[in-house]
């Protein structure tokens, strides 16, 4: 009888293991605190007050780096994150993903050059991220849209939109395109929500605008056709994930 109970215990335990499904939790912060949307309460390094209205981005090509240095790649993984759509903030890419023995998480911010092709997504919300073909095609890696108060306290809008960049000729026509996707690597930070284990991927919005480049919204009108600006923001966004 004891043997039977023991066996049953083992079976139940293994069943529990099989049903374990870990995932990723996407969070947002500003100055290190949880982000509050649509509140004109944040100050940039340059002293401008701003509020965050929308933040949407793609991440792809996830890999888990294990404690022993081995790498588990999540083949063809692409995920859309939207601060306003709760079901995009929890992601279970595999039925049997385990975060046990995971040291760090690596992913591509945006879509790599092979994956970033127009018409890939047919339906909203993903297809609303399209990047015009004239500017290189594919999809926005990120849309972060804010309102800020200028020196005269007037409301202004700024769009931090990153995607494929362009090289222009003297006539102002794009002759070459540049992929601005980059790799992010962060130590795994686990959290348990509703009994599920998640690896947290946090984006600190204030870092996006302040560090390492304090290049802010007033410097640009739109940045989608400005490779230099996108490069600067890409550097900041990497820091916003990794910092």
């Amino acid at each position: 009888m004891r043997k039977f109970v023991f066996l049953l215990f083992i079976v139940l335990l293994s069943c529990a293991d099989l049903s374990a499904q870990d995932g990723f939790l996407f969070t947002f912060s500003c100055n290190g605190n949880p982000l509050k949307l649509n509140e004109m309460i944040y100050k940039s390094k340059r002293g401008l007050t701003y509020q965050v209205a929308q933040c949407q981005y793609f991440v792809s090509d996830f890999a888990l780096i294990l404690n022993d240095g081995k790498v588990n790649t999540l083949t063809n993984s692409v995920h859309y994150v939207d601060v306003e759509i709760p079901n995009t903030l929890k992601w279970f890419p595999l039925d049997d993903l385990s975060l046990q023995n995971v040291d760090s998480v690596m992913f591509i911010f945006g879509l790599n050059s092979l994956q970033n092709r127009s018409y890939r997504f047919k339906n909203p919300p993903e297809n609303l991220m399209f990047w015009p073909d004239y500017l290189g095609g594919g999809y926005h890696y990120m849309k972060t849209n804010i309102l800020y108060l200028d020196a005269d306290h007037n409301i202004n809008a700024f769009n931090c939109h990153i995607g494929r960049g362009q090289v222009y000729n003297a006539e102002g026509e794009p002759i070459e395109y540049i992929d601005n996707d980059f790799v992010v690597k962060i130590p795994v930070k686990k959290i348990v929500v509703d009994g599920k284990t998640f690896a947290v991927i946090n984006l600190d919005i204030s870092t996006m605008f302040d560090y390492p480049n304090a290049e802010l919204f007033t410097d640009y009108h739109g940045i989608m056709n400005n490779q230099k600006a996108m490069g600067i923001f890409a550097e900041n966004i990497k820091a916003a994930f990794e910092r």
Binding site: K122, N127, P132, D133, Y134, I155, N159, H221, G222
Partner: protein, 363 residues
């Protein structure tokens, strides 16, 4: 002999009984929207799949002036939703773009075109009042239109009675729904099926995308302006990869600074941040759908372009995508505006507004 006569009578009775059974059958055939490059997520309720016979019946009802339920004040959906205006009312009969209902009341807003609605899952009407979250869909709008004072100002029971009394409809209803028990639900479902069948995808620009023709230099330049942050139309209105030419989102496009009394998106969500927000309308067939904006304040496309060029107004409620508001507008040159307009006119689908499948079947 008597025996034969009784048998003959029996045969006659059986045969006449047979005549009373429907001679038509209920064999629903799915309706094919036939659009190759649009989104594949469709807003079709599970209890009202589109069928060929359902769409056919809906077309007859859509154009049937008995829908108002009052033969003295006949009105159908098509009285205001006119095919030549992309199923808006146009300005020929209603110069301000706001139709007048049977009670003499005007509609609160101008109309939105009834095209490509099957690809919109984000709510209908300017403020999204009709939305799936509240259990409303296109079907809901049919009894609303029958009873609203600024529309048919009618009575649903009388409408149903008039439709029921026409033997012509019995076969159509049986073929569409497998019953001749006509009621408002089935009337609504059929009209909704027809409305969902109103798809436009054959504009000059569509044919350009299919490689069938070239755009002019001006149209190409207009497309370039449209899809860059120069004019920055694409974030709200789409691009060749978003061929509905609308995101179907709700946005405040910097028209106003005072939002008191507006029946805007905030009236639905109760969220003050949604003040001044209205549905982004499709730009398909924009040529046929003047006047423009929810209140029809702009009579022509040139007026609209001038507004976006120089008339944007700051408020705490502007959509953060409208970066041109920082400077009051796009500030494009006259040539740029002409090119932009030339491009917009390539979105006109003249095949759609003449498509016999969508025309009045009673003619």
């Amino acid at each position: 002999m008597r025996k034969y006569f009784v048998f003959f009578l029996f045969v006659v009775v059986v045969c006449s009984c047979g005549n009373r059974l429907p001679q038509y059958s209920y064999e629903p055939v799915p309706y094919d929207l036939g659009v190759p490059f649009f989104p594949d997520s469709l807003n079709i309720p599970a209890d009202n799949p589109m069928t060929q016979d359902g769409v056919r019946l809906g077309r007859y009802l859509f154009y049937d002036e008995r829908l108002s339920g009052d033969p003295k004040r006949p009105m159908s959906c098509a009285t205001c939703h006119k095919q030549e205006n992309s199923f808006e009312c146009g300005t020929a009969d209603f110069p301000d773009g706001r139709p007048v209902g049977n009670s003499g009341k005007k509609t609160p807003n101008v109309m939105l075109p009834l095209i490509n609605l099957v690809w919109n899952s984000n709510g209908y009407f300017w403020n999204g009042y009709i939305n799936r979250e509240s259990g409303k869909n296109i079907e809901t709008t049919v009894p609303m239109a029958i009873t609203a004072p600024h529309e048919m100002d009618g009575d649903i029971d009388r409408t149903v009675k008039l439709i029921k009394n026409d033997p012509f409809y019995r076969e159509l209803f049986y073929k569409a729904f497998g019953t001749t028990d006509i009621n408002i639900d089935l009337i609504s479902k059929a009209v909704a099926q027809f409305v969902r069948s109103l798809v436009s995808f054959n504009s000059k620009f569509d044919r350009f995308m299919a490689g069938e023709l070239q755009l002019t230099k001006s149209e190409t330049r207009g497309l370039m302006l449209f899809t860059t942050e120069g004019a920055d139309c694409f974030h709200c209105h789409g691009s060749p990869v978003l061929p509905l030419w609308t995101t179907n989102l709700f946005m405040n496009n910097a028209k106003d600074i005072d939002f008191e009394g507006q029946n805007d998106r905030s009236a639905i969500t109760q969220n003050p941040l949604d003040k001044g927000k209205y549905r982004v309308p499709t730009l398909r067939n924009i040529e046929f759908t003047a006047p423009y904006m929810h209140d029809g304040r702009f009579k022509t496309l040139d007026d609209v372009l001038e507004f976006y060029n120089n008339g944007l107004k700051r408020s705490p409620y502007i959509d953060p995508l409208s970066i041109n508001t920082n400077h009051g507008g796009m500030h494009l040159s006259d040539r740029d505006l002409q090119d932009l307009k030339a491009f917009l006119l390539t979105l006109s689908d003249t095949a759609f507004i003449h498509d016999l499948r969508f025309s009045n079947p009673w003619n």
